[in-house]
Amino acid sequence: MGILTLTEVRKNFGETEIIRGVSLDIEQGEKHAIIGPNGAGKSTLFHLISGLYNVTAGTITFKQEEIQDMTPYEVSRLGLARSFQVTNIFARMNVFENVRCALLWSSGYRYSFWHLLGSQGEINDRAMEVLEQIGLKNKALFPAGELAYAQQRALELGIAIAGGAELVMLDEPVAGMSHSEASNAVDLIRRVTAGKTLIMVEHDMNIVFDLADRISVLVYGEIIASDKPENIRANARVQEAYLGEVAASA
């Protein structure tokens, strides 16, 4: 059994079935991409795993623990971090504070009001390291909401990985970026997720085939194929359901 296992996961919104029995097993250290047409339920699946939505049926196991009924903060404390499709940062705080807040729980501070976070010490050094990694060190004191879009995406990633999560989930990390920005972002993702397990949703096929060890194709709430990139490329059903559509529209 891998680090994350989904068994027959279902999600209904009212009468509508959005996720229709998804089973998936992600290995430790794997770089896994989930692709599929719009409305297939990719983001919903992310929300289910990360605790934002509750499942209608099925189980989700992360590191041998059932997490399907947990809140986002409980899931996060187990070492599962995620980013968002729409930039989701702490806009009025500066860049450094954004990252430092993301480090607080994993550094053991919990809800402390008896520690002071000065400018020295381990957590501050660690926050600077993360800023260095994501290339925002010279923007440390800049209000996060005023960063350029690509920089906000980098910060988004920084917040996700700061806490040292073993499993990182990225929801369309390069959406809305220019070509050169996207290729920088891919390098960055590769760097910061080295040695970690990665699950990502992405529309850009070049990036998906470039980054992923394994790809799952989600169509109308079901996984129709889950395999190595070269096999996915060759899979007739996938081509029909998804890649064909992309090729046609491209």
Partner: protein
């Protein structure tokens, strides 16, 4: 270096607090200082909710008032020798009760921020204000409850009979409360309060329950509001329903907002400013609440970050040494603007005055005289046009002062 600056800043604050009565020693000024001391702690505690935690409360006076009521009851207990301790600890008693009330009410009201929180705070405020007229034995009905602060053991021979002695006691408490409220912003949970304010959803994905973070800020805020209530009890030796009703809740909101929510020092500025308006302006005009309302509306419209934000706007010019270039342009715009305000006030007061004549800035204005009306109206219009015409030069000067010599792009 930074530490030295920080300590001298706090040292300066303490020094100002302690030295004020040396320069203004009339009974009136001591009474105003005492009101300021209470208002500063109260407004800072309010900012823990709204400015730092993103919780808009319309019922913050509840914690102030409940703390104050328990403080007065404790004064009575000391007077009748049921308990025996120095009254210097009374603010702590108020704080403790404010904290208890906040723990109880916060346990359900902090579930959500935004409108839900605001509505619950309004409801609780009305509820407590209404029950204060029902539970007469504790709240004393409309008359309130009163005590006497001169009982209990003397504190190094001081009996706190005079307002000046209370001022020094209050100043020490203001200093302590300010330091602790500032330190709170530097703690992990204080930082997460900002994060939850900005983006509660994301805060949950970095391991924190937004509700729990809000609850802790709420309790801390209740504690300090209670301390302010305790100071109130010590200063006035009585407290009534008025001190926990919606009007008091509204006033603290105005103080924090006008001062500037985004800055730690903002509510201090707001508390000082509004206390001054309250005590000085009300001597001159029955309409001071109208002026306060206008000030609030203007602040919301033109200085959304309050007076502290206005001061901080000048940081760039200050650092680059171009602040001096703004002095004359400010004067050029400020002078007609000031005249416009004076003339407007004259018109408002003239239409309100009971008598026929109205003394204003050494002039005797008559309500029935159309010449007087035309004169003031003309001055007002001219001053308004003058202000408007001078705005472009101010804008240019502002641009000029804030243009950095070289851009520091990455």
């Amino acid at each position: 270096m930074a530490t030295v600056r920080k300590f001298s800043l706090w040292g300066g604050y303490l020094l100002v607090l302690l030295a004020l009565p040396q320069f203004f020693d009339s009974i009136l000024s001591i009474s105003i200082f005492n009101q300021m001391a209470i208002a500063i702690v109260f407004a800072l505690s309010y900012n823990m909710l709204l400015g730092q935690g993103g919780m808009l409360s319309f019922g913050h006076a509840v914690y102030f008032g409940l703390g104050g009521f328990l403080a007065v009851h404790t004064l009575i207990l000391i007077e009748f020798e049921t308990v025996y301790f120095s009254i210097i600890f009374i603010p702590l008693v108020g704080g403790f009760f404010g904290l208890l009330a906040a723990i109880f009410i916060g346990s359900f009201s902090t579930r959500k921020a935004g409108t839900v929180f605001a509505m619950i705070s309004l409801g609780i405020g009305e509820l407590i204000a209404a029950s204060s007229l029902i539970f007469v034995s504790f709240f004393g009905g409309e008359a309130g409850v009163s005590g006497d602060r001169t009982f209990g053991p003397l504190f190094f021979g001081v009996d706190f009979a005079q307002d000046l002695q209370i001022y020094y006691l209050a100043a020490i408490w203001v200093f302590i409360a300010t330091v602790f409220m500032y330190l709170f912003t530097r703690t992990p949970v204080g930082r997460m309060a900002n994060a939850v304010r900005d983006n509660p959803e994301r805060a949950e994905f970095i391991g924190y329950s937004a509700r729990r973070v809000r609850f802790i800020s709420f309790c801390a805020s209740g504690l300090f509001a209670g301390i302010a209530g305790g100071l109130f009890a010590l200063n006035y030796e009585f407290i009534t329903e008025e001190n926990l009703n919606a009007a008091t809740s509204g006033r603290v909101l105005l103080m924090a907002y006008i001062g500037g929510l985004g800055y730690f020092i903002g509510p201090i500025i707001g508390a000082v400013l509004l206390t001054l308006m309250n005590s000085l302006l009300s001597n001159y005009s029955e309409l001071w609440l109208l002026y306060l309302g206008v000030l609030f509306v203007l602040t919301v419209m033109f200085l959304p970050r309050g007076f502290a934000g206005f001061i901080m706007m000048h940081q760039v010019a200050w650092v680059s040494g171009t602040l001096r270039r703004l002095a004359l342009p400010y004067l050029i715009t400020g002078f007609p603007a000031f005249i416009f305000i004076l003339a407007s006030v004259a018109m408002i007061e003239l239409s309100h005055t009971d008598g026929e004549a109205f003394q204003y800035l050494g002039l005797s204005l008559e309500r029935g005289s159309s010449i007087d009306w035309l004169l003031i109206g003309g001055v007002a219009i001219a001053a308004f046009l003058g202000t408007k015409k001078s705005l472009p030069q101010l804008r240019d000067a502002w641009e000029d002062a804030n243009t950095l010599p070289a851009d520091e792009d990455s």
